[in-house]
């Protein structure tokens, strides 16, 4: 039973979870308008199926997925489509992305949902397809389409399904509250996933600093033998798939490979809950639980909100700001990003909204690296962050790769412990972005090369055809009878 492998590195940041974890998940009044970016997931942008002025019902499909690596979007409430165009993306760049703006009519009227038959009688592929149609993506922040993962069961042997309840980011308590309040649904969802993937066992990994969630999940999984609830040590980044797999199965996912190569697949508890809702009741993903926390928030708590609700509404519902926040974050303080504006909407991958005071933020004044190796000790991936950052600083991208940039999971442990306050993660983000740009450029160059060659070939063919036509014409002029005879034969 006790097979926890020691995780290397990691940090123990202060939790700040008590206040929001103490209150039950609340609800939010219907906002007047919902802003739905067409890309809330990893992969291709969804394609709108509605026009401006269309009336839609709650749960109605309003944008479909153009490919497997995408996710459809459903109307979170009933109302009228007032705009299809750029909306503010909840992204540190503050860029606008294509989206749909929905004006709620206040009725919140559901579209007629198909009540599915007992999903355990259905084929796994059909169930996975239903998850895809429900627009479910990884809700721990990874926003990877959930159905793509579920379809892995047909291609790989999945031994262990891991349900990730080790919410290791400080401040965030949404998974904790879901596990306490909706334990039965999560266990049911986990069993459904096990059925889809034909996995041997299901392990629900929960950090040992959440005793209530552990107790609730243990009680709910009692009747089902194949489902184990395991307490994993509270350590950041235990919620990272690779670290959780190592902690629970004792195996490391090989570099440059997926979790499936060690027979494991990880789903966040929020995703599991959404999958259960979709398969049992046919409900698409139109709402999620978001932690609203930070010392500037009046009453930190978790809220179940409709996708597309502007951040302002959430903070207002939690008592507004008790003081002017020095930082507004989307996600946790370790891997979250700056919220560009209070008007930015909640999307499927938003785990939390934080309003932090100055003393909760790191010192922004960096000094030179003293090679103290704190980051090396803290790195859960066994990399050398100081060397990677030093090389990224002088744009030596290959050098940075050589020191482990490819394996970096951007968890931020290195920056957290750095006594020189060096923004290591931003150096890595920068280097990765530059490499992406190089790759995109190379792809474009290859594509252009193909196009040029195709064009040259086409022009050559046209030339040949033209010459042939000319020759034929000339020949026809010279010997009309033979040509006629030839055409007769041909016909």
């Amino acid at each position: 039973m006790f097979n926890l492998a020691r995780i290397r590195g990691g940090i123990h940041p202060a939790g700040h979870k008590d206040r929001s974890a103490a209150l039950p998940i609340g609800t939010l009044a219907l906002p007047p308008r919902l802003y739905l970016p067409l890309r809330q997931h990893a992969g291709a942008e969804a394609m709108p199926l509605v026009k401006v002025g269309d009336r839609v019902l709650k749960g109605q499909l309003i944008a479909s997925s153009p490919s497997e690596m995408s996710a459809p979007i459903h109307a979170p409430s009933s109302g009228t489509v007032v705009e299809i165009g750029p909306v503010l993306a909840p992204h540190p760049s503050g860029l606008m992305v294509n989206g749909i703006v929905l004006e709620c009519d206040g009725e919140d009227r559901w579209i007629e949902l198909e009540a599915p038959a007992n999903p355990f009688d259905e084929s796994p592929l059909l169930l996975a397809e239903r998850v895809a149609q429900a627009g479910i993506v990884g809700m721990g922040g990874a926003i990877f389409p959930a159905a793509v993962k579920l379809k892995q069961g047909t291609r790989h042997e999945i031994k262990t399904v891991l349900v990730n309840g080790s919410e290791c980011e400080p401040y965030l308590t949404c998974d904790d509250r879901i596990m306490r309040e909706r334990a039965e649904a999560i266990v049911d969802g986990a069993r459904l996933i096990q059925h889809i993937l034909r996995a041997y066992r299901v392990v629900i990994g929960i950090e040992d600093n959440k005793p209530e969630a552990l107790a609730a999940m243990r009680a709910a999984s009692e009747p089902y033998g194949a489902i184990e609830v395991e307490a994993v040590p509270a350590l950041y980044p235990m919620g990272s798939a690779k670290q959780l797999i190592q902690a629970v199965t004792g195996r490391e996912v090989p570099a440059e490979a997926r979790s499936t190569s060690v027979g494991a697949l990880v789903h966040n508890v929020g995703t599991v809950y959404a999958i259960q809702q979709a398969l049992r009741y046919g409900r698409p993903l139109i709402s999620r639980v978001v932690s609203v926390a930070g010392s500037c928030v009046g009453n930190p708590r978790n809220l179940e909100v409709l996708i597309g609700t502007p951040a302002q509404a959430l903070f207002d519902a939690c008592g507004g700001f008790s003081q002017e926040p020095a930082g507004l974050l989307l996600g946790g303080p370790m891997m979250g990003v700056n919220l560009p504006s209070l008007q930015a909407p909640v999307i499927k991958g938003a785990t939390g909204l934080l309003a932090l005071a100055r003393h909760e933020l790191r010192d922004d004044q960096a000094s030179p690296c003293i090679r103290c190796a704190s980051c090396v000790d803290a790195c859960p991936m066994g990399l050398l962050p100081l060397e990677m950052a030093a090389r990224a600083r002088v744009d030596d991208l290959d050098g940075a790769n050589d020191y482990g940039l490819r394996d970096c999971i951007l968890c931020g442990c290195c920056s957290y412990v750095c006594p020189s306050h060096i923004p290591l993660v931003q150096y890595f983000q920068y280097a990765m972005g530059q490499q992406d740009e190089r790759r995109q450029g190379a792809r474009k160059t290859d594509y252009i090369k193909q196009l040029t060659e195709a064009r040259a070939e086409r022009l050559a063919q046209e030339e040949v055809a033209k010459a042939a036509a000319k020759a034929a014409k000339a020949a026809a002029k010279a010997r009309p009878t033979t040509a006629a005879a030839a055409s007769e034969v041909e016909s």
Binding site: P368, A390, R391, R393, V394
Partner: protein
């Protein structure tokens, strides 16, 4: 044991670069990256060992019997130049990337004063054939060791915020001086 001490003496105590100050041109020129410096070291080791042996042979079987010791420097240069030419051809054939990396410094081994200086010192010290070979090999080993250490240091320096006036060769020379300081600790060992 005696030969081992002799070797240690040549590599560390009387290091060709830091104590005798020979071969500084390729030492500064090629040591900015680790991989070429290793290649340069290997090439130099080959040249120096062979140079040590062949110049000893030349000395004892040609120059001394014919009593033309005054042609020593000339004759040595000719032999060494021919050897470098030969090694250049081999490297070019066997490892084009190394050839490209070494660039101008490969032919420059010919004018590497260490390559000429080591056989001359060897003659002056009256080494035997084995000693001459070892002396050439040891000196080259010392050269390679310093090159490799120094390339490591310079790769680190390339990442440092050295003041503009000192960045590049100036700080490299300062570092070489400080490294020589550290090597003085080996004084008196042999």
């Amino acid at each position: 044991m005696e030969y081992l001490l002799f070797l240690i003496g040549t590599v560390l105590v009387n290091n060709v670069v830091l104590v005798r100050f020979l071969g500084l041109c390729p030492f500064m020129g090629v040591s900015s990256k680790l991989d070429p410096s290793i290649g340069m070291g290997v090439a130099t080791t080959l040249v120096m060992t062979l140079g040590g042996i062949s110049s000893w042979l030349l000395e004892h079987y040609v120059l001394l019997p014919l009593n033309i010791g005054f042609l020593r420097i000339l004759a040595y240069i000719v032999v060494i130049a021919a050897m470098v030419q030969f090694i250049e051809m081999v490297i070019r054939k066997v490892s084009p990337p190394l050839y490209r990396a070494l660039g101008i410094y490969l032919p420059l081994i010919t004018t590497n004063c260490a390559v000429l200086g080591v056989p001359l010192i060897s003659v002056r010290e009256g080494h035997s054939l084995v000693q001459a070979g070892l002396f050439g090999f040891g000196s080259a080993l010392g050269f390679t060791l310093i090159m490799v250490i120094f390339a490591g240091l310079r790769e680190r320096l390339a990442l440092a915020n050295v003041p503009a006036a000192f960045s590049g060769p100036p700080i490299a020379f300062v570092t070489a001086g400080l490294l020589a300081l550290a090597f003085m600790g080996f004084g008196g060992l042999i």
